[in-house]
Amino acid sequence: MPVITVREALRQALHEVMEDQSVFIIGEDIGHYGSTYGVTAGFLEQYGPDRIRDAPIAEAGIVGLAIGAAMVGMRPIAEIMSVNFSLLAFDQLFNHAAKIYSMFGGQMQVPMVLRTTNGWTQLSATHSQSFDSMFAYMPGLKVVAPATPYDMKGLLKASVADPDPVVFIEHTLMYTVKGEVPEEEYSVPIGRSNIVREGRHVTVVTYSRMVHLSLQAAEILAKEGIEVEIVDLRTLRPLDMSLSIESFKKTNRGVVVTEDWQSFGTSAEIAARLYEYGFDHLDAPIARVNFKEVPMPYSKNLELQTVVTVDRIVHAIRSVLK
């Protein structure tokens, strides 16, 4: 099977969905520039300015117009170059995209995708945030945050095909991550988690970039005979906890690793579900590994104190095994 990067996987998915003439892409710097992370490089030349549209710096406008176009059957892909700027479009997402199908009594749907990206590396307080839990809070939205090239491609295709608005969350530190992607057509269904490593001593529930750090932590612990099972959620809403709970019933110990703040973050919901459905199987309190609860500092040393590291994951796993 060919091994490609996340960036290439996303590009393949976008090329495939562009075959549907109702799909168009709009976002800042996506045309001539090929987008901030190079995902749409060459698209303008191939598909023309009608379907590959550079937007002015107007996030509410971009998402609002995607909603409008989607209501009449287009399949817009709106790109917000950094999730931090999606805040400006939250009214559109929350008060419109998420609710139109329900508010209009099922008369109109909003089959749009909002592609955006999490991430950090010395971009500091207003440029290094995760709003995963905020997106996932809203009934009516679907929220996808894959970790591998295979899932990026498969889930992006499923997101564009989906009848509902989907927030598709990428990660700036993952565009060069490589993995196997088959040549034949496939897609990955929204709302299904996946076991990415089997083990019997502890269950790690995670998603997006933290899958890779958790895998590294598991490698380290494997040398000591600790077998870590890792569940990649892949989708946050609808949240599929079935594999996580099954795994937890086997290991009786759980760690939740998410790259956001702990209080009211995604790990809170995930841990709550583990407690609710795995209560009888609990051998230790569930540990969580997240950002320190400060605005992300710029200085490298403070930033490294704030983010999730492999060491901190290893430490948390050890703590639930005590």
């Binding site: 901030t36 931090n84 207003t126």
Partner: protein, 334 residues
């Protein structure tokens, strides 16, 4: 015969030489930041090169430490013109202890100084503009309407909702704000025709009940004259102004950008010919306000100062890890 503009504007030769020195200092810091970026010592670099006449021209008209200034990331030369030193800028860029802007918390380009009344912003383009309106409103309420607020942004930012909302409110209440648009014809890669639907951003002013003024942003004197008039209007209680300064950034948007992808070398070269720093030097030379030797000495002094500031900044530690939770919440009132 027409008076030379600096005389017409009441600027002394000494002031002009000070501005030239300031511009050179700013450009030398800019040069240094790109070097530091290559050395891995300044993670994020955003340039002011090319915008110096706009920023120094406005600074000349601002009462530093009295008027409020709400800048954007492009405004390093403005921050320096208002009184920040190369060392302060470098501590900020390198995220070192004593960074006056944020104590190593904010990425480069978010200038601030309480004493200079420079107010920090966020990374969301245009989101700072309403703050200037609020500052002006506070001045109005407190009967200090003779203190103006000046806010700065690119032409791209004028597409954002926050910008339109701020303009609307300032226009309704005729608040003492000057809105300065540094139009450099690009929002990262997107050229003006695809980010702004009109040729002059200043034309937008009409919809908000304020005058719009266009000037050559690379002409120090034109900028100063227009900024002075706008600030005077504000301080006199005559309301806000939108001032558009047409200029060009001579370097990529940031160290994460490759500007060859969206603009030609010929276009950049054309604007290099209009670089505001040599332009001011020619003005001084042509009118015998400075000699070649004096100008060289000014340039060299700026470089020496920046070398020394770099040495000190590089030897300054990063903020202590124990301070990580500092300034998250204020102290409780007793």
């Amino acid at each position: 015969m027409q008076q030379p503009p600096h005389i017409a504007l009441g600027l002394s030769p000494e002031q002009l030489l000070a501005v030239l020195g300031g511009m050179h200092r700013s450009r030398a810091v800019d040069d240094r930041l790109w070097q530091l970026s290559r050395q891995g010592k300044a993670h994020f670099v955003i340039t002011a090169a090319g915008h110096e006449a706009t920023q120094f021209g406005c600074a000349l008209a601002i009462n530093a430490g009295r008027d409020y200034v709400v800048p954007y990331y492009r405004d390093m030369a403005l921050a320096m013109a208002l009184g920040q030193s190369p060392l302060e800028i470098l501590l900020h860029a390198m995220g070192r202890q004593g960074d006056p802007a944020s104590g190593g918390r904010q990425m480069f380009g978010h200038f601030s100084s309480r004493s200079l009344r420079i107010v920090s912003g966020s990374s969301s383009v245009g989101s700072h503009v309403p703050h200037a309106v609020g500052l002006a409103l506070a001045m109005r309420i407190r009967g200090e309407g003779n203190i103006a607020a000046a806010t700065f942004f690119g032409e791209g930012a004028t597409a954002e909702g926050a910008w339109h909302e701020a303009m609307t409110i300032a226009g309704i209440h005729q608040l003492p704000v000057v809105f300065v648009c540094e139009n450099n014809y690009y929002a990262i890669s997107v050229p003006q025709p695809r980010e702004v639907p009109v040729e002059d951003v200043a034309a937008k002013a009409a919809g908000y009940g304020m005058p719009g003024v266009v000037v050559d942003g690379n002409d120090l004197f034109a900028v100063y004259a227009a900024a002075r008039a706008a600030l005077q209007r504000a301080r006199n209680g005559d309301g806000p102004t939108l001032l558009e300064c047409k200029t060009y950034r001579l370097r990529p948007h940031s160290n994460a950008d490759d500007d060859r992808k969206y603009r030609s070398a010929a276009e950049v070269e054309q604007w290099r010919q209009r670089d505001p720093i040599p332009r001011l030097e020619r003005y001084l030379l042509d009118r015998h306000l400075a000699t070649d030797a004096e100008i060289s000495a000014i340039r060299q002094a700026a470089r020496d100062e920046v070398d020394e500031a770099t040495r000190i900044a590089d030897a300054t530690p990063r903020p202590a890890v124990e301070t990580i939770f500092d300034h998250l919440y204020g102290d409780q009132p007793a």
